[in-house]
Symmetry: C2
Subunit: 160 residues, 2 copies
């Protein structure tokens, strides 16, 4: 019983960490974690459509629109009609957006990645299997991934 408690509390802490990170980020960089995630996506491949973003983040297109609105309003992103398919609108990052991306304070994932990289091989393996186990335990059965906490930036984090 005590163990279950400990597990659930740990999960709470994980959730809590993502929350706190979002606020921290907003203060420091002017964007929330979710907005930052959009910035990352359009930063990785120098243009993306709303649809693509919505698929990758698993939110509706309407959500993406409002998110992008905010980035545009802060001059971190730009919209531009596609030449090839004029229904589409290519969203890309601005110079200021790249700055924000670069100067963002230690994103949650990077924090994780750094510490993970420092672990022993067997420890890493254990962590992986445990996390997967927990995820499987919580998953109703189905539906995979989620919004904010994402994977895209791992390469950067490890690249230097």
């Amino acid at each position: 019983m005590d163990r279950v408690d400990t597990c659930l509390i740990a999960i709470r802490r994980i959730l809590r960490a993502t929350e706190l990170y979002s606020r921290e980020l907003k203060l420091a960089a002017g964007v929330t974690a979710v907005q930052f995630r959009v910035l990352q996506i359009i930063g990785e491949r120098d243009h993306a459509t709303a649809k693509e973003i919505s698929v990758q983040m698993r939110v509706s297109q309407a959500t993406v629109t409002s998110l992008v609105d905010k980035l545009v309003r802060q001059d971190l992103a730009m919209r531009e009609k596609s030449e090839t398919d004029r229904r589409q609108i290519n969203i890309h990052i601005t110079a200021k957006g790249r700055e924000t991306l670069a100067e963002a304070p230690d994103p949650l994932q990077q924090r994780f990645v750094r510490k993970f990289a420092a672990m022993e091989d067997w420890e890493q393996a254990m962590l992986v299997s445990s996390l997967e186990r927990v995820a499987a335990m919580l998953d109703a059965e189905d539906l995979d991934a989620s919004p904010v906490l994402d994977t895209g930036d791992i390469k950067h984090a490890l690249d230097h």
Copy 2:
């Protein structure tokens, strides 16, 4: 690298599961996960003040007020002025609230608890330490627990 990916994806899945659970719950029970958590708290100890709830859930009192408003509006909770300190307002659960509590569809935690209970001892131990490790890795350093996913109902879940 692959391992980091796997970890982050697992964490995403955990987050996602809590999201999905909240929607499922709302459809089935008419309350969201957060509101349900309030219900659990006032159900455990047959009266609580707004302050207590806010401390336990780590949200502001204002938030608690609005949460309780919703429960009261649905006749799941009641407010009553304290006799001893008339600044205080005791919030307690109604019969209907208890029903909701009892009939809530397999809360996330119970799902977890059932499967956890079925695990081998060593597996449980491993899971505990892994989760704690991850939580520690994500924690900036500081601040402990979080709102929604809580612990209070474990006893019930294990009691039968």
